[in-house]
C-alpha cells in the first residue's frame, strides 16, 4: 500500500459542455494537512464535490482511490460511511437546536431504534467537544448563542462524531477573525497529531503557509502543481504566482495623479447604543474626517464596532439612541433613513454581499440599478429601461464583471464578480463618500486587484473612501491614512508613513489596557 490516503486521478467533470475540471490529479498523504489553492471558479469546490459524492460516480471521468480502494460514491452518505467528511463554507448547523443535538444531527445516539438516548448524546457530545478544545462549553445551549468561531469548531466536532478520517474544510476561516482563525488552525494541527488527514481550501495564504504540509494549486480547472513544505519554495508569493499564472509583484495597484482635497465628510461625537439593549453603548464619541480623493482605513479587530459605525451612519441602519453630527462638504446633514443617505451621496457596501448586498435571483442589471433608480433612471416613478441598460453595460465594463450578459442571474456568478456588481450598484448612485466594508472578503487575488483598481479610480474622481478591513495588509496597501478602532472607540490614527501591522496592533493593545484600567 502506498502512503497516500487519497489519490484522485485524471478527474474530468463537465457541466453541459463547460469543462469545470480538466484532468485534475490530487494526491494526499496519510496524516498530512493538504491545502488546495486557486482563484474563485478555478474548480476547487467542484473537485471536493466529486470526492464527497455530491456529484455521483458516473457523472465525472477519472478514478478515486481512497485507502487503496476504488471508490464509487453515489452520495454524501457513501463518502461519510468511509470517513470522508466535508465542512462547507456556509455552516450547516441548526441554529435553535442545542450544541449536543447539532453534534449528532443525522447521526443520532439511540438506545432503541429511532429513540434518542439523551444522556448518551450529552456525554458523547462533551467528549467530541473536548477534542476540538471546547471542553468547557455547555452542550445544552442553542448553537446560535455561540460565536461563529465556536460554531465552526462544533462543525468539526460533528465530523469527529462521524469517525472522520479525511476531513475537508472549505474556507473554514472566511468568517472568523484573526484570533478565532488561529485557534481553528491550531485545532487542525492537533487533529493531525491524532492521525486525521485534512484537506483545507482557503484564500488566506498566510494560513496555508502556517498550517499545511503541502499545497496543490488549481487554475482554470487544471492542476498546476503541488508544492511540499520543506522541499519547495513555500512562500505566499510563490503560491500566488502559480494561482494567477503570472508574477504578482504588487498586489496593490499604485494610486497616481490623485489630488487630495478638502474635508468633505466629517463625523463628530458619534454615539450609538446596541439595538437590543439601550444601556449598552457600542460606539463612543467617534470623530473622523475624510478628504476628497482620500482613502481612509478603519482598522481593528472583529467586533470592534467598525461595521456598526458604518451602518449607523448609513441611514441609522444599526443601533438606537444615535447622537452626533455628520457634515458633508461642511454642511450638517441628517441621515435618518437609507434614502436620506443615498440622497446625500453617501454609499455603503456591506461586508456580506449575499445577505445585505444582492438580490441573488435578480439579474446583473436589476442589482446594479436598484439603489440609483429613484434618482437617475426614472421620471415620476416610471423607469427608463433603456438608460438602465446603457448604464449597466457601461459599469459592467468599468468594474470588469465577467459575464456574458447583463441579464445573467447574479446568484450564478462567482464571489468576485458578485462583489463587483455590488460595487457598481453603489457607484451608480454617484456618491461623494463611499464606505466599503471588507470589500475583498472571500474573493480571489485577481478580483481583489481589480477592486483595488476601482478604488483608485474613485479616489482619482475625488470621492472620499472609507475602507473597513480585517486584513491589515489590505489597509496598509490601499489607504492613505487609517483610524484604529477598538471596543467602539477611536484608539488612534496613523498616516501612511507610520503604517505597519505592529503599529496597528500596538494601538489596539494600548487601548485595551487603558480600557481595563478604567474598568478597575
Amino acid at each position: 500500500m502506498s502512503d497516500y490516503i487519497l489519490e484522485m486521478d485524471h478527474i474530468t467533470k463537465k457541466f453541459s459542455g463547460v469543462t469545470a475540471l480538466d484532468d485534475v490529479n490530487l494526491k494526499v498523504k496519510k496524516g498530512e494537512i493538504h491545502a488546495i489553492c486557486g482563484e474563485n471558479g478555478a474548480g476547487k469546490s467542484t473537485l471536493m464535490n466529486v470526492l464527497s459524492g455530491v456529484y455521483p460516480f458516473g457523472t465525472y471521468e477519472g478514478d478515486i482511490l481512497y485507502k487503496g480502494e476504488h471508490c464509487k460514491f453515489h452520495s454524501l452518505r457513501d463518502s461519510e460511511a468511509k470517513g470522508i467528511v466535508i465542512i462547507h463554507q456556509e455552516l450547516a448547523l441548526s441554529p435553535l437546536l442545542s450544541v449536543a443535538e447539532n453534534v449528532f444531527i443525522g447521526n443520532e445516539q439511540t438506545s432503541m431504534k429511532g429513540i434518542i438516548d439523551w444522556t448518551e448524546t450529552r456525554r458523547h457530545a462533551k467528549e467530541m467537544l473536548a477534542k476540538v478544545g471546547l471542553e468547557n462549553e455547555d452542550v445544552n445551549v442553542p448553537v446560535n448563542t455561540l460565536g461563529v468561531g465556536k460554531q465552526q469548531l462544533i462543525e468539526i466536532a460533528k465530523a469527529m462524531a462521524k469517525k472522520v478520517e479525511l476531513l475537508i474544510l472549505d474556507e473554514p476561516t472566511a468568517a472568523l477573525n484573526d484570533e478565532e482563525s488561529r485557534k481553528l488552525l491550531d485545532i487542525m494541527l492537533q487533529l493531525k497529531e491524532q492521525g486525521i488527514t485534512c484537506i483545507i481550501i482557503s484564500h488566506k495564504l498566510n494560513e496555508i503557509e502556517y498550517v499545511s504540509d503541502s499545497v496543490t494549486i488549481i487554475r482554470d480547472g487544471k492542476t498546476i502543481e503541488t508544492l511540499v513544505k520543506g522541499v519547495d519554495d513555500y512562500s505566499e508569493d510563490r503560491v500566488i504566482k502559480a494561482m494567477v499564472g503570472r508574477e504578482m509583484t504588487n498586489r496593490y495597484p499604485v494610486r497616481e495623479g490623485v489630488n487630495v482635497g478638502d474635508v468633505i465628510f466629517e463625523v463628530k461625537n458619534w454615539n450609538v447604543f446596541h439595538p437590543d439593549d439601550e444601556h449598552r453603548q457600542v460606539l463612543k464619541d467617534i470623530n473622523i474626517k475624510v478628504r476628497a480623493g482620500e482613502v481612509v482605513g478603519l482598522a481593528g479587530l472583529m467586533g470592534a464596532g467598525r461595521t456598526e459605525l458604518a451602518m449607523s451612519l448609513f441611514g441609522h441602519s444599526y443601533g438606537q439612541k444615535i447622537s452626533g453630527t455628520v457634515l458633508m462638504n461642511g454642511q450638517e446633514v441628517h441621515l435618518k433613513t437609507v434614502k436620506d443617505a443615498v440622497k446625500n451621496k453617501l454609499a455603503y457596501i456591506s461586508e456580506d454581499r449575499k445577505t445585505y448586498g444582492l438580490n441573488l435571483i435578480g439579474d446583473v442589471k436589476e442589482n446594479m440599478t436598484i439603489a440609483a433608480r429613484p434618482f437617475f433612471f426614472s421620471n415620476h416613478g416610471v423607469i427608463n429601461e433603456n438608460d438602465e441598460i446603457v448604464a449597466a453595460q457601461d459599469y459592467r465594463q468599468r468594474v470588469k464583471v465577467k459575464t456574458n450578459s447583463i441579464n445573467q442571474v447574479v446568484g450564478a456568478l462567482s464571489g468576485g464578480n458578485q462583489q463587483k456588481v455590488v460595487v457598481a450598484k453603489w457607484m451608480m448612485t454617484q456618491p461623494n463618500v463611499l464606505i466599503m466594508d471588507e470589500p475583498t472578503r472571500g474573493i480571489d487575488v485577481g478580483a481583489k486587484y481589480e477592486i483595488y483598481c476601482v478604488i483608485n479610480e474613485l479616489a482619482k474622481a475625488g470621492k472620499a473612501i472609507i475602507i473597513i478591513s480585517s486584513e491589515m495588509p489590505e489597509i496598509i496597501g490601499t489607504c492613505d491614512r487609517c483610524y484604529v478602532i477598538n471596543e467602539g472607540e477611536i484608539a488612534g490614527e496613523l498616516t501612511r508613513e507610520e503604517f505597519s501591522q505592529e503599529k496597528i496592533m500596538q494601538l489596539i493593545m494600548a487601548h485595551m489596557r487603558k480600557g481595563d484600567g478604567n474598568g478597575n
Binding site: F314, G315, S317, T337, V338, K339, A341, V342, Y348, S350, T355, Y356, G357, L358, N359, L360, I361, G362, E366, I370, A371, R373, P374, S378, G381, V382, I383, E385, N386, I389, V390, S405, G411, A412, K425
Partner: protein
C-alpha cells in the same frame, strides 16, 4: 451580416411556454367535449366566470412577489359584496354609494392587514388567516346568513353586462362556418385596434433595441410570437362577436392587467416589490422602505378584493354569505401556475392571468364533460402540483 448575427439572442421560451400550455389544454378539452368549449357562448362564460379570479390573481401576484400570500381575499370578496347588497337593498341607496362603500371597506381591510404585517411584523400568513376568519364571520353576521337580492339591473351590468354592439347578420355560409348568425362589429374593431397596438409595440421595442444596439430576437421568433398572440386575440374576439359582444368584465380585466403590468415592470415602486422578494435585507440597505412596500401590497390586495367582490355580486345579482369561498386558493394557485416563485422575487402579471385562465379552462372543460366540482378539485390540485414541480425541477437543472 456577421456583426448583425452577434446581436441576436434567442427568446426565453419559458416566458411564452405558458401560452402554449393554455392553448394545449384548450385544444385537449375541445377534443374531449367535441368542440363544446369553443362555442361562442362558452368562451363568453369563460371570461365572465373567471373575471374575479383574474382580478384577485393580479393582486395576489404582488403578495406572492414578496414571498407571502393573502388568505383573506375570499372573505373580503364576501364582505364587500354584502356591504354593497345591504346598502342597495336594506338602505335603498344609490348603486354608486354601494360601490364606493364596498371599495372603501376593501381598502380598510387592506389597511388593517397591511398595518399588522408591515408595522407590527406579524407574519402575513397569520394576519390573513385572521382576516379570512373575521371576514367570513362578519359576512354571515351582516347578512344574517341570508342571501340579499335581487339587485337592480344597472348594478348587475358590472358583472353580467355587455359593451354596446352593432350586430350584422351573417350569410348562411359564414354563419355555418363560424357557428353564429350575427356578428358584432364593435368587437371586430376592438380586435383590429388591439392587433395594431400589439404589432406597433413590438415594432417600437425592436427599433429601440436596434437604436441602442442591443441584442434582438431572430425575426422568425418575433413573427411566431406575434402570430400566436394575434391568433389568441382573434379567436377570443371573433367568438365574443358571435355571442353578445364584449362583456363589461373584460374591460375591467384589460384595464387592470395593463395598469398592473405597467406598475410591476416599468415603475420604481413595482420593481421594489421584486427587490424586496429577492432579498429583503439587501433591499433595505438599497434605500427601499420595505415596510412601506409590504403595507401597500396588502392595501392593494384589499382594494382589488373589493373590485372582485363588486363584480361577483353583480354577476350573481345578489350577495350571499358563501360568496368568494375558496377564491384565495384559486388566486394563489393562478400565480404559481403562472410561474411565480414560491419564495418570492419572481413572477409576472401576465403569467398570473394566464395561470388564472388555465385554471378557468380546466374548471370549465371538466364541467362540460360532466365532472362534479369535487372531481374538478382533484384535477386542479394535481395541475398546481405539476406546474410548481416542473418549475422547481427546471430551475434545479439550470443550477
Amino acid at each position: 451580416m456577421e456583426t448583425k448575427n452577434k446581436k441576436l439572442v434567442n427568446m426565453d421560451l419559458k416566458q411564452y411556454g405558458m401560452f402554449l400550455i393554455l392553448i394545449g389544454i384548450f385544444i385537449l378539452f375541445a377534443i374531449t367535449t367535441k368542440g363544446a368549449n369553443a362555442k361562442p357562448v362558452n368562451i363568453n362564460n369563460l371570461i365572465m366566470q373567471n373575471g374575479y379570479v383574474v382580478i384577485l390573481a393580479i393582486g395576489m401576484l404582488l403578495c406572492v412577489l414578496t414571498g407571502n400570500i393573502d388568505l383573506g381575499v375570499g372573505s373580503v370578496v364576501a364582505v364587500t359584496g354584502s356591504v354593497a347588497g345591504i346598502i342597495m337593498i336594506d338602505l335603498k341607496m344609490n348603486m354608486w354609494v354601494a360601490i364606493l362603500a364596498a371599495l372603501a371597506v376593501g381598502l380598510l381591510t387592506g389597511l388593517f392587514a397591511g398595518f399588522f404585517i408591515a408595522y407590527l411584523g406579524i407574519p402575513p400568513f397569520v394576519v390573513t388567516l385572521a382576516t379570512m376568519l373575521m371576514g367570513r364571520g362578519l359576512t354571515y353576521t351582516l347578512l344574517q346568513a341570508q342571501t340579499k337580492g335581487p339587485f337592480e339591473q344597472s348594478y348587475n351590468f358590472i358583472g353580467a353586462g355587455f359593451l354596446p354592439v352593432i350586430k350584422i347578420p351573417l350569410g348562411p355560409g359564414l354563419a355555418n362556418a363560424l357557428g353564429g348568425t350575427t356578428i358584432d362589429l364593435i368587437s371586430i374593431i376592438v380586435a383590429i385596434i388591439a392587433s395594431a397596438a400589439l404589432i406597433f409595440s413590438e415594432y417600437r421595442n425592436y427599433s429601440t433595441k436596434k437604436k441602442y444596439d442591443f441584442a434582438v430576437n431572430p425575426t422568425w421568433q418575433i413573427a411566431l410570437k406575434l402570430a400566436i398572440m394575434l391568433f389568441i386575440i382573434w379567436f377570443f374576439f371573433v367568438k365574443l362577436a358571435l355571442n353578445n359582444g364584449l362583456p363589461f368584465v373584460l374591460l375591467i380585466m384589460v384595464i387592470l392587467i395593463a395598469v398592473y403590468g405597467f406598475i410591476t415592470s416599468k415603475t420604481v415602486a413595482g420593481r421594489q416589490i421584486y427587490a424586496l422578494g429577492g432579498n429583503r435585507k439587501a433591499a433595505n440597505l438599497s434605500g427601499i422602505d420595505t415596510n412601506k412596500v409590504f403595507f401597500w401590497v396588502y392595501v392593494n390586495m384589499g382594494f382589488l378584493s373589493s373590485i372582485a367582490g363588486i363584480v361577483l355580486a353583480a354577476r350573481n345579482g345578489s350577495a350571499t354569505p358563501k360568496a368568494g369561498d375558496g377564491f384565495e386558493m384559486d388566486a394563489i394557485a393562478s400565480c404559481y401556475i403562472g410561474g411565480a416563485a414560491v419564495a418570492g422575487g419572481a413572477g409576472t402579471i401576465v403569467g398570473a392571468v394566464v395561470g388564472a385562465f388555465i385554471m378557468g379552462i380546466l374548471n370549465n372543460g371538466m364541467s362540460l364533460m360532466g365532472f362534479t366540482t369535487d372531481v374538478q378539485k382533484i384535477f386542479k390540485g394535481m395541475v398546481l402540483l405539476l406546474a410548481v414541480t416542473l418549475d422547481v425541477l427546471s430551475k434545479r437543472k439550470k443550477s
